[in-house]
């Protein structure tokens, strides 16, 4: 039995207890001779996915299954006077209709309930129908008669903060306490600086638009509920749905086998999870409730828009003397508890600076609630800070990479602790500059009307560290194969494969001897949400600990079979090796068959992160592009990226995250912007026609310069996360490259064609384009 310690800690609800579990393994040495970890193995589930056999939430078909649709508010703010479901209940195929009048007042968001008597955004849930077909459900929605009393509303941060603004909630438009932070003397730092930058930036609300839309299929067996949910957090959904419905947790089962992405929006129970469960209970039938694109883009989260005023002070040699950021972010109509958008963070930690102040104010607006979106907060902050650093470098006439090296921090300035891999960011600078050819002469533009530019941006990220606890079980079967069981989920990144590689490595078995099971609260032990780029770094060590326990037992048995001391035995590629006597090696199955029908079982727990050091992930990107000064087209993007994610368990999977993140970053930089009509409060582009995510043709040429230095102090596998980071620096690096090309600074994102053409015209009109 591993040793367990109980440690008190301060939590949100006073003193909580933390279990400190010993993983029982030492970290792999950075130069350890690993066989399977580090190899570019294709995804284990790849065949299932490309042949269409992988089942997603919407693929579930149960006998008697109904289909549900939700009636949503057409008004950004209105009091519901009455809801009449009489006609809808009589409509063909309808089996259940729910609304505020016939379900319990289930608490939701901060002070609200499931079906509010005041709706606060276009898309707010009012009622729901379950019918024999989706079309019948949709038709029945139109028969629900709702009387609204429209109320004044606010759509933007500026409107919400206006002195006479209508209030989204009874206590005003400021969402929670402003978050302030200060160290040193920022005012003095600005005052004493040789050079200062003072600029206001804004970022748009981006919409997640994961391939797989939100939704679930629910089924009651007696008083036990099963949800096949599109979620990145099966245990969170279980806990929250159980709480909302007043069920004990063991009567709720959440299943998620395959995932078409979540990007942060699927880490909480949304109203549709409970609505489907209530409809299912009322109808006595399974219910599938999938959101269409419009519904999910209205009501299932978005990246919070921000306004950021950034002030930097620096000495002539580039040393930062002050960083000050005044930040506003729009939370939308409700705070979901899943927003986690710490815009301030990177201002406090990315650069060495003694004098820092940040103030972050969240405001309510009558728009859909914001929720975490791939590196929440940092993506928005990087757009501002990394352009401000570029502006500073220009002012100082200093190379932007050199400026960043000049302000390098090897310690966590919030906690005063060193980083576990303090050279992580420096390595990223080195690798990306080298791969890109930073500082080399720019090739000439491809035609007369084009201007070429290069840009640089760096980032840090508080995620990628792993967040314990998390557990894994392994059973080594009598035939020498192994089942690895966890309660984590694969958000779509290839979690099965990366974790199976850790299991295979530690067990000494070939990868095809491992069955990796995840995504079911009924069969696997607790694992946390797959957010914060955490899954590999959280569950990898737990898997390894479980495997080590099994391996110890296996070697003990092998010792009896071979009549050799276990300390002389090891296992590799499915064979037990005897130290100094190669002739005597035997297959693992030859050992396990001897004990059939016994099996060997191990349990692993993820131990705590180090106390005396801070784990962090870093990276940097270089961009080259062309801007057509006549048509405003931004083209021929070339992006090099280097990211410190510790040991690379599977290069193919890491490359995939880099390509996907950068491509999403291109969208954030150039096209992605939720558009809300300020007079109507309507989202005009809550669909994939008008909201333009990048297509394959828009994806840049990407070179991933792998860093791949194991972070052996972070956890026993040395691997950190890579899911979120590649998105963070892309947009500012693009904006910096655009400035380099045409001398125009875009402080408002995205750099849409309309903005670029208009800015070029203004530049021509002024006749003084400060061509760099």
């Amino acid at each position: 039995m591993p040793e367990i310690r109980v440690k008190p800690k301060q939590g949100e609800n006073g003193t909580e207890l933390e279990l400190i579990e010993d993983e029982g393994v030492r970290a792999w040495a950075p130069d350890a001779d690993l066989q399977i970890v580090g190899q570019p193995h294709p995804r284990l589930e790849g065949r299932e996915k490309v042949t269409g056999r992988a089942r997603y939430a919407s693929d579930v078909r149960l006998p008697g299954q109904l289909y549900a649709r939700v009636l949503r508010s057409p008004y950004p703010h209105a009091r519901i006077v009455s809801v009449d479901i009489g006609k809808a209940e009589q409509a063909p195929g309808v089996r259940a209709v729910i609304h505020a009048g016939n379900v319990p007042r289930i608490p939701w968001y901060e002070e609200g309930v499931l079906f509010e008597s005041t709706v606060r955004f276009v898309g707010d849930e009012i009622a729901a129908v379950a019918a024999e077909s989706e079309e019948q459900a949709e038709d029945a929605l139109r028969l629900i008669e709702v009387e609204y009393e429209p109320l004044p509303f606010v759509s933007t941060i500026e409107e919400a903060l206006a002195p006479d603004a209508p209030w989204v909630h009874d206590d005003g438009n400021i969402a929670g306490e402003p978050k302030t932070y200060e160290r040193g003397d920022p005012d003095a730092g600005l005052r004493d600086a040789d050079v200062t930058i003072d600029a206001a930036y804004s970022t748009a609300s981006a919409l997640h638009n994961a391939f797989e839309s939100h939704g679930c299929t629910t089924f009651w067996d007696g008083d036990s509920l099963t949800l096949w949910d599109s979620t990145q957090a099966i245990f969170v959904i279980r806990e929250q749905v159980a709480e909302k419905l007043g069920l004990p947790e063991h009567r709720v089962r959440v299943v998620k086998h395959h995932m078409g992405g979540g990007f942060g929006a699927k880490q909480i129970a949304w109203k549709h999870d409970v609505i489907a469960s209530l409809l299912s209970r009322q109808a006595g039938r399974p219910v599938q409730l999938m959101l269409d694109r419009e519904a999910e883009n209205l009501a299932a989260g978005n990246r919070n828009p921000t306004r950021q005023r950034v002030r930097l002070g620096a000495r002539r040699d580039g040393t930062l003397t002050a960083i000050v950021a005044d930040i506003h972010q729009a939370s939308g109509a409700y705070r979901t508890g899943g927003e986690a958008s710490n815009v301030s963070g990177t201002y406090q930690t990315l650069y060495n600076c003694p004098n820092v102040r940040t103030e972050q104010v969240a405001v309510y607006t009558n728009t859909g609630p914001a929720v975490a979106f791939r590196a929440p907060g940092h993506v928005e902050a990087a757009f501002a800070l990394e352009q401000a650093m570029d502006e500073l470098a220009r002012t100082l006439e200093m190379d932007p990479v050199k400026l960043r090296r000049q302000n390098y921090s090897e310690v966590d300035q919030l906690e005063g602790k060193p980083f576990t891999l303090p050279e992580g960011l420096r390595l990223s600078y080195d690798r990306v500059a080298d791969a890109f050819g930073w500082g080399a002469e720019k090739p000439p533009p491809s035609s007369e009307s084009k201007r070429r530019g290069v840009g640089f941006a760096a980032h840090d990220w508080s995620g990628g560290t792993g967040h314990p606890p998390g557990y894994a079980w392994i059973e080594l079967n009598a035939d020498g194969t192994a089942d690895v069981i966890t309660g984590t989920q694969d958000i779509g990144t290839g979690t099965r494969t990366g974790l199976a590689q850790v299991a295979a490595e530690e067990l000494g078995l070939p990868l095809d001897c491992i069955a990796f099971r995840l995504g079911d609260t009924a069969t696997g032990p607790y694992s946390p949400v797959s957010s914060g780029s955490a899954t590999q770094a959280t569950i990898g060590p737990a898997v390894r600990a479980a495997a080590a326990e099994v391996k110890a037992q296996l070697l003990e048995v092998a010792s009896s079979v071979l009549e050799v001391g276990a300390d002389r035995l090891s296992v590799r590629a499915g064979r037990i090796l005897v130290d100094g006597d190669e002739e005597r090696s035997i297959a693992v199955s030859a050992v396990t068959e001897k004990i059939r029908p016994h099996t060997l079982q191990g349990r692993g727990a993820r131990g705590p992160n180090p106390e005396d050091k801070t784990i962090r992930t870093f990276g940097a990107q270089c961009v080259e592009l062309e801007v057509d000064i006549e048509t405003g087209e931004i083209d021929r993007l070339r992006i090099a990226a280097a990211h410190d994610c510790g040991r690379i368990v599977n290069p193919t999977l890491v490359d995939s995250q880099v390509v996907g993140g950068i491509t999403q970053g291109v969208g954030f930089a150039l096209t992605e912007e939720r558009t809300v009509d300020p007079r109507l409060g309507l989202v005009l582009n809550a669909n994939l026609e008008e909201y333009h995510v990048p297509t394959v043709a828009d994806a840049p040429a990407i070179e991933h310069a792998r860093v791949g230095v194991p972070d052996s102090e972070a956890n026993s596998t040395g691997a950190k996360g890579i899911g979120e980071p590649p998105l963070i620096p892309t947009a500012p690096a693009i904006a910096n490259a655009v400035y380099d090309a045409i001398g125009i600074r875009f402080r408002e994102g995205p750099l849409s064609r309309a903005r670029v053409v208009a800015a070029l015209a203004e530049q021509r009109a002024q006749g003084e384009g400060s061509r760099p």
């Binding site: 057409p74 276009v122 079309e135 949709e138 038709d139 006549e630 048509t631 405003g632 087209e633 150039l670 096209t671 558009t675 009509d677 300020p678 007079r679 109507l680 309507l682 005009l684 582009n685 026609e689 008008e690 333009h692 990048p694 297509t695 043709a697 828009d698 849409s752 064609r753 309309a754 903005r755 053409v757 208009a758 070029l760 015209a761």
Partner: protein, 329 residues
């Protein structure tokens, strides 16, 4: 979606008999189904709620072929955009049409969408398409785009509606001087595409003058000897977006002198927009960068941008210059 009957007539005459004479935009009666790429989106958004769909996709009399004769090219109404993009006669003689077709939508959509339906598609205006907005084009009092988010809207103010026509091929066909052949209860008629499109009015809230009892039989192109043409499209991503601005230009040049010119803009008005002032300026001129520059200015004469779309004027001028340069080179 409202339940509807489904009919598959054997002849054009039968199909026409199922239609009624009300303007197409108001028809709650019958709607024609060919590729369905626009109709189904309209029906799903409740913008069209026909009692009956008349499937003409397999109508033997209606052509899905492209025929060439001395007078030009006849394009059957059921010819898909994918056919137009690939047909060697179109790519050789009417490149503007091939290019416009290839730049529209996606390969999947282009294999479904027919040229007849493409000309009859409704605007993509995000107010018109939003079921919560009762805009002027849908019979409401107000065009919400005028005071709203109009970055993708019209810069030529020729109708209470400021939506732009979404078709790329229509812009090209206008520059290629196409005609549209219609069949209705009263027989067949053929008219210039410039007369086929008309800005929506209060009496006729559609973008064409086709009657409710008519269907498009074919699009005809005049012989193209001596003409060169091209289509340029600005989008805010590389593919799969409607035009911010589209420019179709056709020139007949003889030893550096423009004999004849036709220039059409898309994405700037509720209908494909013919830039006649620019055409007049070009005709008879010796082609030069200066002439081209003047033509680009003339092409945007009279443009009145809304609050958020002045950029379209600059973009359109740039594309006009580029298209004319390409043809004169």
């Amino acid at each position: 979606m409202k339940p509807f009957d489904f009919a598959r007539p054997e002849t054009i005459e039968d199909a026409v008999a199922m239609l009624d004479a009300r303007p197409a935009g108001h028809a709650n009666g019958s709607a024609l189904l060919a590729g369905g790429t626009d109709l189904l989106t309209l029906m799903k958004a409740d913008l069209s709620a026909p009692d009956r769909l008349i499937d003409i996709k397999r109508l033997a009399e209606l052509d899905n072929r492209i025929e060439e004769d001395e007078e030009g090219l006849t394009i059957g109404a059921l010819v898909t955009l994918a056919q137009l993009e690939e047909d060697p006669r179109v790519t050789a003689l009417y490149p503007a049409l091939a290019e416009a077709s290839s730049l529209a939508a996606t390969p999947q959509l282009r294999h479904m969408a027919t040229i007849g339906g493409n000309l009859l598609q409704r605007p993509r205006c995000w107010y018109f398409r939003n079921p919560h907005v009762h805009c002027w084009l849908k019979g409401g009092d107000e065009c919400q785009a005028r005071q709203g988010e109009n970055q993708r809207h019209a810069i030529f103010d020729i109708s209470p509606c400021v939506a732009v026509h979404p078709s790329d091929p229509a812009t090209a066909l206008l520059a290629l001087d196409a005609t549209v052949r219609l069949r209705g209860a009263a027989g067949e008629r053929e008219l210039p595409i410039a007369d086929f499109f008309a800005p929506p009015t209060a009496e006729r809230c559609t973008e064409t003058i086709i009657r409710g009892d008519e269907l498009i039989v074919a699009v005809r192109l005049p012989a193209a000897q001596g003409w060169r043409s091209t289509y340029l499209k600005a989008m805010d991503r590389k593919v799969w977006a409607f035009a911010l601005v589209g420019v179709a230009a056709a020139l007949r040049v003889d030893e550096g002198r423009v004999i004849d010119a036709r220039l059409a803009l898309g994405g700037v008005a509720p209908i494909p927009w013919r830039a006649e002032a620019a055409e007049r300026l070009l005709a008879g001129s010796d082609i030069s960068a200066e002439v081209i520059s003047h033509a680009a200015e003339a092409a945007l004469d009279g443009a009145q941008p809304l609050a958020k779309n002045a950029y379209k004027i600059l973009l359109a001028k740039a594309l006009v210059r580029r298209a004319l340069m390409a043809l004169s080179g």
